[in-house]
């Protein structure tokens, strides 16, 4: 019996009137976990009941603790008829299962009903006591930390990056079960919500088990998605990167781990990352399109409605044993090439050398090859046995194998910034995966590489290293122009680089970046089954090709040479396909300056035509120079003669995007004659092309004072203020007429442009500001409907300092980095004092720190320092994780005795709030992994929430917009409330992964499903941090709560 869950229902407020006669409510609460239910007394005739219940105790397996949510139902007691439900609260108790996350859930949580929305709030207290579990074959994975953040979380250090973890679970969708015909919409929605909670709990537990098996203790870049397949079922799948993380709690100087000095560290001298490309590459198929898209549709496999050949445990590659990677490492000789091979072999032993990370610890990412992606079209079939979701597993298996081979073709052994997605329409499903082929350093991947000493001596990798080609230049998998790196002049770089990752912090960038989108609509005939699937898969390559062309053109038009954060979304509807590619364009200093765009006419004889062409050419040239100015792109003029032309000019210098065999010669000639820069030729051979050029030029530049990007940060802007505004905007358009592809394209493009314009206008009060992490999601919810949803954060910055930011901020961060650990330490301790959560990883240094000012601390602090001493002592004994847990249980209980208030932290938080006058704590939300001007001091656990809202009185709720507006606001409110209840004051890496909206205006009905996720954290403003670290005591307020709005 490894755990005891305790819940206490304190009070309710703002309850709805349930009894019309008295205008009051007789409320009581049911608390349910698993199959056990407790009830409070009825609190008669009040809209603000005070239940103050006893502690309801559930004794459960930790497996259940991970899978099940705590379900709280508020009801109105009715003597004569059935009790009416007011609403429910689902509480994910996972954050309480990890010793380093939250210790208690306490606060006001909105009571939610799927028909009426939020109906009042309930104040609850939830705690978990975990007991030691020595069972080796346990099914639970308590204690594994999950992070949505796609980089190493800010207060942790990566000791080891183990690699890819994935899992999927399937079930029947309650909405499509026979019982749904006889139950109410409310019951159906609740069944669905509960099922998804359960499934994501189970999924997380299973992934956790895999992580433990690999020897890790955390999952970073955890990405969980739902596939609402409809009739055929409900799939919940997740991918992530298993890591071993260590809390940063020591000073760099004392950070040595005595046991870890293994010979393996010697071979990891910093220079090894920069060696020339070498290493023969495996024979991947030469890719037609450069470094990106591949689509596949294999009729034989996908049509078959049986779960054919492949087993779930595809045994082509041996399962990654932790030891094997390490042993390979130890035999390594001094030769760099050998080293490279080793890393490669270490990676090859993994089934999938994939990483969902988009930002990396310094020195981890060595070279980037380019984007790899794979798609496949499948016909959905009923999942017969939910316990063995073989077909779905096999589908992803197939795609991942393809990605792996594409990466190989690019000379890379790993894929980073990896993600997977689906688009479903009726019975057709497009599965997509994409990532960036890369070469990684082995230092975070081998056993025994856990030497902290070296990490701190790390030389900052040069800002151009990752641009150097990883593939063999004589064996280029696609036509490309290579030059010597414009930074170091030693290694070859490509002319253009596309990636799905964030811009590495060390990258040398000229000017600022900007959001670049390629948008495309393609009509398709209505069809069924196989025919439909074939039609779609035939269209896909064209779609991808054109998206790529658009991206390339727009990149050139902005005078830039690299894309980061590239995300291509393809959405399928009954009569059309939508493609949206978003990325952040930048000018990488290491890459050659992009040539212009040249317009070429087909029939040069006609004078008016030529005039037209030259007009267009002029327009394009003007736009390019305007854009360069706008984004401050003025790279130092490179005299090319100095380096000469190292690479024999490839024959097809200019790749023709609309190649006509007859005209290509002429064009390339024209191009070659046109100066040294490689001009990019657009040939106007048909009306399509004219439209395309127009489309190119219609993208309006961002208004003055605004910047935009879809990555975490914007190069060239550093001095963020603390003013941030996260927002979600959703638009649905109805297409009213039969449209041609061009017409559709224009509409779709205008739609996106107008949406952006609206966002700029809405946020104009924040200027100067940058919209970061602009994440567009498109969907075709119905025939002739296009839905676009955007979630992003607007962040203000100081214009004044932006000129001098370069050096100064660099220095500043350096100083900060040095002092950081010290401050961090202080806060850990203080936090402990409040949270009563011992920090098992704190170090001997931490102890001495405590010892030096014992008198300055309150008595309760002594307990925590005792806890610290205890746990770090335990750590020194090198006991296993579960023993530490036992220790933590002990200390918790001792603390409980000591303090009359069991819920130390959040209580004190709330009392602080009340001083500031507002009774609701401010919770910031951001899709980024950080909060500007603030320091994240603790991760409280993952937030993963799923809500359904339905209405049968759409008009009365303000139509579709009113309905959705309320729902999104409610979702935000519930996220904030749950974070506040965990003791946090912000959500980072927030994302809205699903927003499925369905309406039936004729019946006055609508339904919407939203899935959001993020990491709950505690942050403190940096200014406060500085002052508190001086005063040591007293200021444990974490006052960022009281601050100005998010």
């Amino acid at each position: 019996m490894p755990g005891k869950l305790k819940a206490k229902i304190v009070a309710g407020r703002h309850l709805p009137v349930m009894d019309r006669a008295s205008d009051l409510t007789d409320a009581f609460v049911e608390v349910k976990f698993g199959n056990t239910t407790f009830k409070t007394d009825v609190y008669p005739k009040s809209l603000n009941p005070q239940w103050n219940s006893e502690w309801f105790k559930f004794e459960v397996d930790d497996e259940d603790l991970q899978d099940e949510p705590l379900q709280i139902t508020v009801l109105d007691h009715d003597t004569y008829s059935a009790n009416d439900a007011i609403g429910k609260v689902y509480i994910d108790i996972d954050p309480l299962l990890c010793s380093e996350a939250a210790t208690v859930i306490s606060g006001w949580l909105p009571i939610y009903d799927t028909i009426h929305g939020i109906r009042g709030e309930i104040n609850v207290l939830v705690k978990v006591d975990l007991f030691n579990d020595l069972n080796r074959f346990r099914q639970s994975s308590c204690g594994v930390k999950f992070f949505c953040t796609t980089s190493i979380p800010r207060c942790y250090r990566a000791v080891m990056v183990h690699g890819f973890v994935e899992e999927l679970v399937v079930n029947e969708d309650p909405e499509y079960q026979w019982i749904d015909r006889i139950r109410t919409p409310r019951a159906s929605n609740e069944a669905r919500q509960r099922l998804i909670f359960l499934m994501s709990g189970e999924l997380q537990r299973k992934i956790g088990l895999k992580v433990l098996e690999m020897g890790g203790n955390a999952v970073v870049g955890y990405l969980q998605c739902f596939d609402l397949e409809g009739e055929t079922g409900l799939v919940v799948r997740a991918i992530g990167t298993a890591c071993t993380l260590e809390k940063i709690s020591t000073l760099p100087a004392t950070a040595t781990h005595p046991s870890n000095s293994s010979p393996s560290k010697d071979m990891k001298e910093p220079g090894f990352g920069e060696e020339a490309p070498g290493v023969p590459l495996s024979s991947g198929p030469p890719t037609p399109l450069r470094a990106q898209t591949f689509s596949s549709f294999s009729p034989s496999k996908s049509y078959s409605r049986q779960s054919s050949s492949s087993d779930t445990e595809l045994s082509l590659t041996p399962k990654t044993g932790m030891g094997s990677g390490g042993s390979a490492g130890k035999e390594a000789g001094p030769l760099k090439a050998l080293l490279r091979q080793q890393t490669q072999s270490a990676l090859e032993q993994r089934e999938y050398p994939f990483f969902t990370l988009t930002a990396f610890p310094p020195g981890f990412l060595l070279h980037v090859g380019g984007v790899v992606s794979a798609r496949s079209v499948k016909l959905l079939d009923r999942i017969h046995n939910p316990d063995e979701p073989e077909t779905r597993d096999a589908w992803w298996e197939e795609i991942r194998q393809e990605i792996k081979s594409h990466a190989k073709a690019l000379g890379c052994h790993a894929v980073v910034g990896y993600s997977e997605s689906t688009s479903i329409c009726e019975e057709v499903c497009i599965l997509s995966a994409s990532g960036t082929a890369a070469i990684l350093s082995s230092r975070f991947m081998q056993d025994g590489s856990l030497d902290t000493e070296h990490r701190f001596e790390e030389v900052v990798p040069p800002g151009c290293g990752f641009c150097h080609i990883p593939y063999d230049e004589l064996n280029i998998p696609f036509p490309a122009q290579l030059t010597y790196c414009y930074c170091c002049r030693r290694y070859k770089v490509p002319d253009v680089l596309f990636t799905t990752i964030d811009l590495p912090t060390e990258a040398n960038v000229t000017g600022k970046g900007c959001l670049i989108q390629a948008r495309l609509c393609r009509t398709k005939k209505k069809a069924q089954g196989e025919g439909n699937a074939t039609a779609i898969s035939n269209l896909l390559p064209f779609l991808e090709y054109e998206l790529h062309t658009q991206l390339m053109n727009k990149l050139k038009l902005r005078g830039m040479n690299a894309l980061f954060g590239l995300r291509i979304q393809i959405s399928v509807g009954e009569t059309m396909l939508l493609g949206l590619a978003s990325a952040t364009g930048v000018y990488l200093t290491a890459l050659p300056s992009p040539g212009g765009i040249q317009v070429a006419g087909k029939t040069p004889s006609d004078i008016t035509y030529e005039q037209h062409i030259s007009n267009m050419q002029k327009k394009i040239n003007d736009t390019i120079s305007k854009n360069k100015e706008l984004h401050e792109i003025n790279p130092p003029e490179v005299v090319e003669e100095i380096i000469g032309s190292p690479i024999p000019e490839p024959r097809q210098r200019s790749r023709l995007f609309r190649s006509h065999s007859e005209s290509s010669d002429e064009v390339s000639e024209l191009d070659l004659s046109h100066g040294k820069k490689d001009a990019f030729v657009l040939e106007i051979d048909d009306t399509d092309a004219v439209e395309d050029i127009h489309a190119l030029l219609t993208d309006s530049p961002t208004p003055a004072g605004f910047y935009s990007c879809n990555t975490e940060i914007m190069p060239g802007i550093q001095n963020w203020t603390s003013a941030i505004q996260m927002f979600t905007s959703v638009r649905v358009f109805r297409l009213n007429a039969n449209l041609t592809n061009q017409g559709l394209n224009k509409i779709f493009s205008d739609l996106c442009e107008n949406l952006l314009k609206s966002l700029y206008f809405k946020l104009r009060s924040m200027v100067p500001c940058c919209l970061c992490h602009l994440n567009f999601t498109v969907a075709i919810p119905e025939d002739e409907l296009i839905q676009v949803a955007v979630t992003a954060v607007a962040m203000s910055f100081d214009k004044e300092q932006s000129l001098e930011n370069g050096k100064q901020s660099g220095e500043k961060t350096l100083i900060k980095a040095i002092t950081e650990n010290d401050e961090q330490l202080q806060f850990n301790l203080e936090l402990n004092a409040e949270t009563s959560s011992p920090n098992p990883l704190s170090s001997p240094k931490g102890l001495s720190e405590v010892g030096s000012h014992p008198s300055a601390r309150a008595p309760s602090v002594d307990y925590s320092s005792f806890a610290d001493r205890c746990s770090s002592w335990i750590e020194q004994l090198k006991l296993k994780a579960h023993t530490i847990r036992r220790g933590s249980v002990k200390t918790t209980s001792s603390l409980e005795k000591a303090s009359p208030l069991p819920e130390g932290r959040s209580r004190s938080l709330r009392s602080n709030r009340s001083y500031s006058g507002s009774s609701v704590a401010v919770v910031k939300m951001t899709p980024l992994s950080f909060i500007p001007g603030a320091k994240i001091i603790k991760y409280l656990g993952i937030i993963n929430m799923f809500f359904i809202r339905e209405t049968t009185s759409l008009r009365e709720e303000g139509g579709v917009s009113g309905f959705l507006h309320t729902f999104i606001a409610e979702v935000f409110a519930m996220v904030r409330a749950h974070v506040a209840a965990l003791g946090g004051n912000a959500v980072v890496s927030y994302s809205m992964k699903e927003c499925v909206f369905m309406e039936n205006p004729n019946k006055n009905q609508a339904q919407c499903l939203i899935n959001v996720s993020g990491d709950a954290v505690i942050f403190i403003q940096e200014s406060e941090l500085e002052s508190t670290s001086v005063q040591t005591q007293s200021a444990t307020t974490h006052t960022s709560n009281g601050g100005e709005g998010t």
Binding site: R13, I118, E121, S700, P703, Q725, M726, F727, T728, S729, V730, R731, V732, F733, R734, L735, N736, A737, L739, G743, K746, I747, L751, N754, K757, S758, L759, Y760, F761, K762, L763, R764, V767, L785, Q787, G917, S918, S919, V920, V922, V923, K924, M925, G958, V960, S961, G962, L964, H965, I968, A969, E970, F972, A973, R976, A977, F997, E1044, G1045, T1046
Partner: protein, 362 residues
């Protein structure tokens, strides 16, 4: 041309911190339709901002209007605004939202002043709207606010202004105006007569403030249980005793001579004053003595205008003359040895004097 081929079905923007545009809020409070609001914004030059176009402006206006509409339910019980979870709004913005929601047009308030805040009056809102040029929707909001505040504080004990502030979180100035409205509605003072038309809402609000401060139960007794909404019965009853000032001929003559002695050479209208002294004094004392009847209380202002202000105005008294006269008229009573009700007199005249002075204008 493109817009015929597609239509916006749904368009929402939700910020973690609720985005509120104060200018648009005002348009919404003014009861403008979205179309009118967009037109007004365009006229105000909104298109110059941030390279907006009409479409962007329409979308923004609709979205803001919807946000305000969603907030409206909360604004109707302002104490909920601070501890609701649905909208994350910084405290100073919350204050702004509430204050603006409860602000009203004094033109409108003037029309409603003293009327019963009932359904019947609500039907007259059409007329008030067309008379004042205030959009009906805005009239409704203002009327409902009056009614809501009235209903809440009507039965509450303690100081009226503080009660309003506590329950509706309004600024002091606005709470005072609401106190006046509640006070007038409760006592149903006549304000609608033609002769009273020249008086503004602020004139009446000032008078209401005086009455609340000096003539209610709470005015003398600071015990919290006391009510501020009603005039003190005992005091009104005591006012009957002032009659002696005009009924006793000696006392009236003595009073007159005292005042005349003080004012001789100091006011321009001395002779007119001397001539009408007895009438004026009788008017003021009679008004006082009749206040025991509810009906006469209601007629307080019309009586003051008809019986005192108009005679003075026809004699062309200046405001300075009037002030001097009232000061001495009031203070010289202290030297009348036979008169015993000095305290009642001062309490009565203090208010009457400041009311008359406020009301004495064209």
């Amino acid at each position: 041309m493109l817009f015929k081929k597609m239509s916006m079905e749904l368009d929402v923007f939700v910020g973690n911190t609720t985005v509120l545009d104060e200018d648009v809020y005002q348009l919404w409070l003014d009861g403008q339709t979205v179309t009118d609001a967009v037109r007004i914004r365009i006229e105000a030059g909104a298109l110059q901002e941030c390279e907006a176009n009409a479409e962007v402006l329409l979308s923004d206006t609709m979205d803001q209007f919807r946000t305000f509409q969603m907030c409206e339910r909360l604004l109707q019980s302002p104490s909920k605004v601070a501890n609701q979870l649905l909208f994350q709004i910084p405290p100073h913005r919350q204050t702004m939202l509430i204050e603006r929601y409860y602000e009203f047009d004094s033109m409108f308030a003037r029309e409603v002043l003293g009327k019963k805040l009932s359904k019947g009056t609500k039907k007259d809102l059409d007329d008030i709207g067309s008379k004042t040029g205030i959009v009906l929707k805005s009239c409704r909001r203002q009327f409902d606010n009056f009614k809501r505040v009235f209903k809440v504080v009507e039965e509450l004990k303690g100081p009226l202004v503080e009660n309003i502030q506590r329950h509706f979180l309004l600024s002091d100035v606005l709470a005072r105006d609401y106190a006046a409205i509640v006070f007038f509605a409760n006592s149903r003072f006549e304000t609608g007569k033609r002769k009273l038309q020249y008086l503004s809402f602020q004139d009446f609000a000032f008078c209401a403030g005086q009455l609340i401060s000096y003539w209610t139960v709470g005015a003398v007794d600071n015990v919290v249980e006391n009510m501020d909404v009603d005039l003190e019965k005992e005091f009104l009853h005591d006012l009957k005793d002032l009659k002696v000032l005009v009924n006793d001929k000696d006392m009236l003559d003595q009073h007159k001579s005292l005042v005349c002695a003080q004012l001789r050479g100091k006011i321009k209208v001395f002779s007119e004053m001397e001539a009408s002294f007895k009438n004026l004094s009788r008017a003021l004392v009679n008004i006082a003595s009749k206040l025991t009847h509810t009906k006469d209380v209601r007629d307080l202002f019309i009586d003051l205008v008809e019986k005192f202000i108009e005679p003075c105005r026809s004699d062309k008294w200046t405001i300075g003359d009037l002030r001097l006269f009232l000061t001495h008229y009031s203070s010289s009573v202290h030297t009348l040895e036979a008169f015993r009700r000095q305290v009642i007199w001062d309490r009565y005249m203090g208010v009457i004097k400041s009311c008359i002075l406020k009301m004495y204008h064209d």
